[in-house]
Amino acid sequence: MYRKLRLCSNSGAYEAIPDPPIPLDLAAVRRTLERVGIAVVDARVMLLVGTTPEATISRNGRLLFKTRDPAAAEVTFEKLRALLKLPGAAPS
């Protein structure tokens, strides 16, 4: 399960952290996202994802959304969660 979305340490982005970590096959994640037309840069240990806002997906399941708008981060989180069949976030 993901913890509630929270601001990262520099307060410039929202992050979703799974507890416990969720090992992701980034090659499979990339294929899934590209199939639905989302641009992805594969940096091997993470994916840079061309959603709005932009996101990064790490191998341990951590997602980061480059926005200070919690609602925008939440929308993109839900979109990626559904596409990648990830578990939901803890209730507020």
């Binding site: 340490s9 982005a13 990064t56 980061l64 480059k66």
Partner: protein
């Protein structure tokens, strides 16, 4: 007084280091390594605002080169050991800064590093990073602690800019090496085409 090239990150330390060098009367040129998409636009905006402030204070033009570094980060992440990623990243920053120094006729490089502050600023990591360049590297803040640097930053007005929200560098590994082995660094670097990477970065650099 000499002409130097200063690495500027948008953080708290580099504008303070630049302030000391400008106060001594050196003619300075900035270099910002643009880490997008591993960060957002905020570091670049902060550097621009730092420079506006310091240009007014010291009546110097302080040109700043914006060097794309995100592609370099992707290449390093794909091909080298993540554990030493910060040192490898720094080596490429220094190489770009040195190329710009050569172009600008500058005789030294400078940075806001202070010993022991973060993973890349241990003595062995600093040595492993700067051994990639020939020009002398000046570190005006090397013996300062964080509180001292912050106090100066507040007094010159750069602190409020540096501490605005921003996305921290996503390329930093979870457990960066704090003690690097130069032989390992050199072996890792053999996995990428160093000259090609630096050539590309410098070709795509722009002046703010």
């Amino acid at each position: 007084m000499a002409r130097g090239v200063m690495l500027m990150s948008g953080g708290i330390d580099s504008p303070v280091a630049l302030h000391y060098l400008l106060r001594q009367g050196h003619e300075m040129i900035g270099v910002h390594m643009d880490n997008r998409p591993f960060t957002d636009d905020s570091p670049l905006e902060k550097v621009a605002d730092h420079l506006t402030l310091l240009r007014e204070r010291y009546h110097q033009p302080i040109p700043v080169y914006l060097v794309p570094h995100g592609t370099t980060q992707v290449t390093l992440m794909r091909n080298t050991d993540r554990h030493v990623g910060c040192v490898l990243c720094r080596r490429f920053m220094w190489r770009s800064a040195e190329r710009i120094a050569e172009r600008e006729g500058a005789s030294f490089l400078a940075t806001g590093e202070a010993l022991g502050q973060v993973a890349s600023q241990t003595l062995s990591n600093m040595r492993s990073a700067t051994i990639a360049v020939r020009l002398p590297v000046v570190r005006p803040l090397i013996g300062f602690d964080k509180q001292e640097i912050e106090a100066v930053a507040k007094s010159i007005g750069t602190y409020a800019i540096s501490t605005r929200p921003g996305v921290c560098c996503q390329a930093v590994p979870d457990k960066p090496a704090t003690r690097s082995n130069l032989i390992q660094i050199l072996r890792e670097e053999e996995r990428v085409d160093v000259d090609q990477i630096v050539d590309d970065c410098i070709r795509k650099a722009t002046i703010l």
